[in-house]
Amino acid sequence: MTGDQPGYSRNEAGKDLMEGIDTTVPHSARIWNYWLGGKDNYPVDRAAGDAFLKAYPGMAAEARANRQFLSRAIRYLVIEAGVRQFLDVGTGLPTADNTHEIAQRLNPACRIVYVDDDPLVLAHARALLTSTPEGVTEYVDADLHEPDQILDAAARTLDFSVPVALILSGIMGHIADGEGPHAIVGQLMARLPSGSYLMLQDGTTVSQANAEAHQDYDSSGAIPYHLRTPAEIARYFDGLDVVEPGVIPIQQWHPEPAEPAEPFNDVNTFGGIGRKK
């Protein structure tokens, strides 16, 4: 794009501005924003979010538990594992404690690359997720279906000769079985050096209510989200040294007594951390 393009007419301009964000179908990042108490969502997202909660009331607590697990996992990676570089695919709309904020609070020199393919998410992330002066926070517009593009772009900010933590938090369900979700994770980890980590969490089919709520959601016109079994989630960590106590319900992973406990009635989201040998 150059500065000397011919100007648009008013009508073309008006039409153009109506494209880009579809506010007629629910969008997963905006629904999560709604569940987490954010305001960057539309009526269609709130309606879909409410319909989901009606079918599966545990989801709001599950969404908060998802963020708490992310928090504990990043703390583990910085403090226990000494990781200084993070590749977070599926940024989502900014919430209270984002990956770079947790990591840079513990070590301001941490470098974080966020990846998303949604224009609204990227606009918010670029404007609101700001780095410490000592560290780096960068944003990449790329699709999880194209792992090599993600890695090529991330390599401009991260040093692949020292360990990187790959964060896949509630994102793998966007990849259908036929699109090889496990192969994609394998491709991403393959180019990271020994001593790198995988942190992954995702919804499972364990909760019948959750599975039914997802079926309704998938038929709402939204991009479908594919739930998997706990065994399929654990398989993402094949070949890695899984950090104890394993790939388990996220609420039970290194719980912290000081943390406000979310009601935990349903086993649903599974997650864990693995280290590349």
Partner: protein, 98 residues
Amino acid sequence: MKIQVMPFTTGVAAGGAITLPRFAGPGIAGIVYLDQFAGALYPDKPADVQHYGQVMDRLCTRAEPPGSSRRYDVMIARGAVIISWRCRDWRSAGLLAE
């Protein structure tokens, strides 16, 4: 504060300056601030707030990202929309005409 620039050549339909404050509490309803020659308007009907929010979202996704390497003087030569983000407190879009 982060600044985004959208040259008029990109295609603009903002109409006038818009400011969207962002209140921290989940229960606090949104409001729009529209600067006028004399005073200001504060639309607060949910439908209005949503409409202005949608316009703002579209401006933000169409504008050059903050920190763009493109030259600002070239981008704003024929007028532009300037979007400013003040932390998480507000987003504002203003016209910079020729």
